[in-house]
Each structure stands twice: as structure tokens, then as C-alpha cells.
């Protein structure tokens, strides 16, 4: 009797350890986040402070917001390369529309239609991408690669290759404002992270997202309308890209037509670091959040250690490949052919 209970306890403990280990295996990026967190805390005097953590959250919020949307689209088995251009479009539209003469008498309310237009541009372009992917059956990689070039062209044509400055200072004050003890931008990031986590893990739309990415045929047979479903997800990532563009321009109080260049690559890096598969069907927001934090901590910490930005690029590249390698070793399932 006594023996069995001891055995069961040790078995339980064993399972607990295994469970924890499995959590690390499922989210290897969090092990990495903890390691670099400890490393920079020990190596610099300035890293371990509440103010700096807030900094990291605000600095990565732009990347992080888009990564949330990218995670959904990638779980779907698609990809969106046009997010960087949408960042620039939304920022330019918002900052420009705010200054239109027709809103001159609106006071601070002039920000409202501007932000609405900025967000709408992202959602609309997402809908356009999604519609093309749905109706033509052309790979999302190609559709959004085209959109990446085209939307950037739109931005340059619209802005006349000029930067816009926000004349309403309430707009740039918002970027520096605080709410309940945290920067507002950090709140926006955290709240949306939670929302998308709930969307993916607790709703029908979320389980459909995994189903479509895992096996499109089966999803169709199960009665999911795959086309509209994918379109909604493209609209979500478009929304987040636009939102990121707007938060970025509140931080600068301005927009430039080159804003968000290369963001698509950074966002994909963060998402893949978080364990989302390009093949679809796998990934989650906890991992993506870890991936975003990893990039944020690495950039911030190496900056504090006064390492030139060049080395951050090399480190990130190496880590991205290392994570992919680890993931392959840890989650070996036969000889899976990874394909886009």
C-alpha cells in the first residue's frame, strides 16, 4: 500500500517534470528568452529595471502587433509579405488625413476619422489579399509579394515621396502617454495579445484556423467555408499592420513613405522563432509572444551592452536557424517535407 502510493507520487512527480520539459519542448523560445533575460540582467546594470522592461514592451509592440496577425495567417498555411507596406500606408494616411482642412474645426476629434481611415486601409488591403487568394487560388506568398511592391508604390505615389508631420500634438502625446502605470502602447500590445490568444484557443474561428492549416481538404469536408475564413484572417493581419503603423507614427509624430520596410521579414522571424510552422496547422500566441520578446530583449540588451547593431543582425540570423534546427530535432515526426 505504502509502496504503491510512493510509486504513484514519484510517477506524478516524474510526469510533472516531463510536463514541464514538454512545455519547454513546445516553446523552446521561452527557454531562450529566460536565458538572454538572465544574461543581460547579469551583464549590464541598466537592463534589469522596470523602466527598461517598459521600454522593451513599447519598442517591440509594433513588431508584436503584426506578429499576432501573422501567426493566425501562418497557422492557416498562408503568409503575408505586404505588412510592411501596409504599415507605411496606414501611418501616412492617418497623419495626412488628420491635417485635412475639413477636420480643422474638430479639435482633437480630428484624430478619430484619421485613425479610422488608417485602420480601414489595412483591413481593406487584407480583404483584397484574402479575396485574391480565395478566388484565384494563387499562393498567398505570391499574392502578398505582389501587394508588398504595389502597396509600397501606392504609398510613394500618395505621399509624393514626402514625410508627413502630425500637427496635432495630442497624437504624438498619445504615443508617450501612460495608463494604469504602463505605457499605453504596451497596454495595446498586451491586450491584443490576450484577445488573439483567446480567439485562437477558445473560439470556433480559432479551431477552424488550425483545421484549415492542418488539412484544407478535411476542413472543406467538415463544412468550413475555407475561402471566407482565410479572407477574415487576412483582414485581421491587415488590421494589425495598420494599427502598428499608427502606433509607430504616434511615437514619431510623423510618417515616412519608407516606414515599415523589411518589417515583413522581422515579423516572420518573430513568428517562426515562436514555433509557428510555415506549413500551417501549428503555432500559438504564447510562442509568438516569446519570439517577439526574444527579438526585443536581444536588441535592447545588446544595445545596452554597446554592441554595434551589426552583431544583433548576425545573432538574430543565427538564432533563427538554430531554433529551426532545434525544432526539427525535438519534434521529429518522420521525414516531414517542409514546403511553402
Amino acid at each position: 500500500m505504502a509502496e504503491t502510493s510512493v510509486e504513484s507520487v514519484s510517477a506524478q512527480a516524474n510526469q510533472g517534470v516531463k510536463g514541464n520539459f514538454r512545455w519547454v519542448v513546445r516553446h523552446p523560445i521561452w527557454a531562450f528568452v529566460v536565458i538572454i533575460f538572465l544574461f543581460f540582467s547579469l551583464m549590464t546594470d541598466t537592463f534589469f529595471s522596470l523602466g527598461n522592461f517598459e521600454n522593451i514592451l513599447v519598442q517591440t509592440s509594433t513588431l508584436g502587433l503584426i506578429a499576432l496577425g501573422m501567426t493566425i495567417v501562418m497557422i492557416n498555411g498562408n503568409i503575408d509579405l505586404s505588412v510592411g507596406a501596409v504599415v507605411a500606408l496606414a501611418a501616412s494616411l492617418t497623419v495626412d488625413i488628420m491635417g485635412w482642412p475639413m477636420f480643422e474645426s474638430w479639435g482633437n476629434w480630428q484624430i478619430l476619422p484619421a485613425v479610422a481611415a488608417g485602420l480601414a486601409s489595412g483591413v481593406l488591403l487584407g480583404a483584397l489579399n484574402g479575396l485574391i487568394v480565395w478566388k484565384t487560388g494563387v499562393d498567398a506568398f505570391i499574392v502578398t509579394l505582389g501587394a508588398m511592391l504595389g502597396v509600397r508604390g501606392l504609398v510613394f505615389v500618395y505621399t509624393g515621396e514626402q514625410s508627413f508631420f502630425a500637427m496635432n500634438f495630442a497624437y504624438s502625446d498619445f504615443g508617450a502617454s501612460r495608463f494604469l502605470g504602463l505605457p499605453t502602447l504596451a497596454w495595446i500590445f498586451l491586450v491584443f495579445t490576450l484577445l488573439i490568444h483567446i480567439l485562437l484557443s477558445r473560439t470556433v474561428h480559432g479551431s477552424n484556423t488550425y483545421a484549415v492549416g492542418d488539412n484544407r481538404e478535411a476542413a472543406v469536408n467538415a463544412g468550413i467555408r475555407v475561402g471566407p475564413h482565410m479572407m477574415v484572417n487576412f483582414m485581421i493581419v491587415g488590421f494589425f499592420a495598420a494599427l502598428a503603423g499608427i502606433t509607430l507614427s504616434t511615437q514619431m509624430g510623423a510618417s515616412t513613405p519608407n516606414l515599415g520596410r523589411d518589417y515583413e521579414l522581422w515579423v516572420i522571424t518573430a513568428t517562426v522563432l515562436g514555433g509557428t510552422k510555415l506549413t500551417g496547422g501549428a503555432g500559438n500566441i504564447i510562442g509568438t509572444f516569446g519570439g517577439v520578446l526574444a527579438i526585443g530583449i536581444l536588441r535592447n540588451g545588446m544595445n545596452l551592452m554597446q554592441v554595434p547593431a551589426f552583431y544583433v543582425l548576425v545573432t538574430l540570423g543565427v538564432i533563427l536557424i538554430a531554433v529551426l534546427f532545434l525544432d526539427k530535432q525535438l519534434n521529429r515526426k518522420g521525414d516531414g517535407e517542409l514546403r511553402i
Binding site: 505570391i142 505582389g146 508588398m148 508604390g153 510555415l278 543582425l313 514546403r339
Partner: protein, 330 residues
């Protein structure tokens, strides 16, 4: 025979045109621009367009082979920055010949890293080359210390290194000659040699390729070597033409190159595509840019047109293969 004629009448011609839509589009564009602007179809203009497309074109040759074998290479832009900075920087230090040699070796090594990770370790090519994009950009900045490099102005006009970018043979600019020579060479290899067939086989059906005795790992490895070699050649031309280089000169090229490869009709799924089509894709992009400028549109309007052209081109291709215009997805 009757059946054949019947088939040709009933849609194989349509399918043939749809599958080779890129040629039709190319001719249509040339005619439209030719009518729209009397300067478009002059020798000088055509030459300058082909010359400015030559660099993207040379990189696209290597990327085409990578894509035919079923992978992607996003690191070519960073690699171009790296190669150009290196060859320009070394030019004054060790002379043009050794500079080219050292640069080519370094670039081929980077290609070998790509090829090893993707071919032998079998990691996803998109992510590996994305990582390499970032890493090589960092390496370039570390190498140059963040400063732009240039060839000593006093030797710029005398060094034989200038031949590659500024030279002429029989009145035709050197970059064009190198582009077409390399395109013919690579095109011949890929279309008419056993090696080329192995590349198509690996991209078309990897499992079948392995069962028929093709060493898939080596073939994939070799495609990245070819890609790196093409980038090296492009670096020499760029360095020689500009006689200097910024650290991020190749930034964004990876996706432009990929866009022209896709525009040519090479499928991202691998196993299909050709060098000729890629050359046409590259030229279409160049001529769209030039034609729109001559017609008086703003510079960036070309990107909007490119957006539409890419999607239409691939859509036609996909639609021809499945025999219906719209996707059957619900």
C-alpha cells in the same frame, strides 16, 4: 492525328497561349509602350533598360534554379551587398584580380552554408535564407564598419576592373553581354544536361527523385552554389559600374528578384520553369518601369503595375493548369 488536331482546336491552343502568356504579355507591353512613346523603341533606350535589368537578371538566373528545385533563396540581396562591398574594398588593397577571387570564394562559402543547411540538414529554405539575409547583412556591416566603401578615385578610370560594369564590346555594354552569356550557359545546363534534369526531378517530386537514385541533398546543395555564383558575378558588375558601394545596396533585391522569377512563370512549388522565361520576366519588369516613366507616370507607379501583372500572370498560369478560371475553394 485527327484527335490531335481536334485537341489543338478545342482548347489546347488556349492552354498553350495561357501557359506561355508571359510571351504574349511581353509583346503586348512592347507594342503598347512603342505606340505610347516614340523614344521607347530606340536602340539606346532598349540597351539602357536591358543594362539596368542585367544585375537583377543575373541574380534571377541562380534563384530560378533554386526555385525549380523546390526551394527559395531570400539571401541574395544581402549577399549582393556583401559581395559588392568586399570586392570594392579589396580592390585598392590587393588589386582587382585577387579581390574578385577572394570575394567569389567568400560568397560561394555563404552559398555553401545555405546549401548545407537546406540540402543536407534539410531545414526549411525560406527560414534558413531569411536568417542568412539578416546574418549576411550584419556581416557586411561588420566588415565595412558601417562605412560606405569606394575605389580610390585616381584609379577608377585606369583599373581594368572597370571593364565589367563600364566596358563595351562591339557597341554593346558589358553587363548585357555577361547577362546573356550567363543566361545561355545556365539555360543550356538546366535544359539539356543530366544535371538539369536532376534539378527538375528533385523539385517536381523529391520522393520519386530519391527512389530513382538521384542524390537529392547534393542537387539542392549545388543549386545554392549556382545561386551564390550568380550573385558574385552581379556583385562584380555592380562594384565595377559604381566603383563604390553602400552597405545596404542589395536591400530588398531578394523579393524583386523573386518577383521577376515568378513573373516568368516558374512555380514556387518547384519542378517547372525555365531560364528563358525568367529572362523574359526580368525584361518585362525593366520595360514596365522604363515605359511608364517615358509615358510620364511617377516612378513608383511601376510597382503598382507590377503588383497587377504578377498576380495576373500567375493567375493565368494556375487557371490554365486547373482548366478553370476561379479556384474551386468554397
Amino acid at each position: 492525328m485527327a484527335g490531335f488536331v481536334e485537341r489543338m482546336r478545342n482548347g489546347d491552343i488556349k492552354s498553350l497561349i495561357a501557359r506561355n502568356g508571359i510571351f504574349v504579355a511581353f509583346v503586348a507591353f512592347m507594342i503598347a509602350f512603342g505606340i505610347g512613346s516614340d523614344r521607347f523603341l530606340t536602340f539606346d533606350n532598349l540597351e539602357s533598360v536591358v543594362r539596368s535589368s542585367a544585375m537583377i537578371g543575373i541574380m534571377a538566373l541562380g534563384v530560378t534554379i533554386v526555385v525549380i528545385s523546390g526551394n527559395l533563396d531570400l539571401s541574395v540581396g544581402s549577399m549582393l551587398s556583401f559581395g559588392t562591398v568586399m570586392v570594392v574594398n579589396l580592390h585598392d588593397k590587393i588589386g582587382p584580380g585577387p579581390a574578385i577571387l577572394v570575394m567569389m570564394i567568400c560568397v560561394l562559402l555563404l552559398g555553401a552554408v545555405n546549401g548545407f543547411l537546406i540540402g543536407f540538414v534539410r531545414l526549411n529554405s525560406l527560414i534558413v535564407t531569411l536568417g542568412m539575409l539578416s546574418a549576411i547583412q550584419g556581416l557586411t556591416l561588420i566588415y565595412s564598419g558601417g562605412k560606405n566603401v569606394d575605389v580610390n578615385p585616381s584609379t577608377q578610370d585606369t583599373t581594368w576592373f572597370r571593364v565589367f560594369g563600364r566596358g563595351e564590346v562591339a557597341g554593346i555594354d558589358m553587363p548585357i553581354i555577361i547577362f546573356f552569356a550567363l543566361a545561355s550557359f545556365v539555360g543550356f545546363i538546366i535544359a539539356f544536361t543530366p544535371y538539369g534534369r536532376r534539378v527538375y526531378a528533385v523539385g517536381g517530386n523529391p520522393t520519386a527523385a530519391v527512389f530513382s537514385g538521384i542524390r537529392r541533398n547534393r542537387v539542392v546543395f549545388s543549386t545554392y552554389i549556382v545561386s551564390a555564383f550568380c550573385v558574385g558575378i552581379a556583385s562584380i558588375i555592380l562594384g565595377s559600374r559604381v566603383m563604390g558601394s553602400q552597405n545596404n545596396v542589395g536591400q530588398g533585391y531578394e523579393l524583386l528578384v523573386l518577383a521577376s522569377v515568378i513573373l516568368g512563370g516558374t512555380s514556387l512549388l518547384g519542378g517547372s520553369g525555365s531560364i528563358l522565361k525568367t529572362v523574359i520576366g526580368v525584361l518585362i519588369l525593366g520595360f514596365i518601369q522604363n515605359g511608364l516613366l517615358l509615358l510620364g507616370y511617377p516612378y513608383f507607379a511601376q510597382w503598382i503595375v507590377t503588383w497587377i501583372v504578377i498576380i495576373l500572370a500567375v493567375w493565368l498560369d494556375v487557371a490554365a493548369k486547373r482548366g478553370r478560371l476561379l479556384s474551386p475553394i468554397a
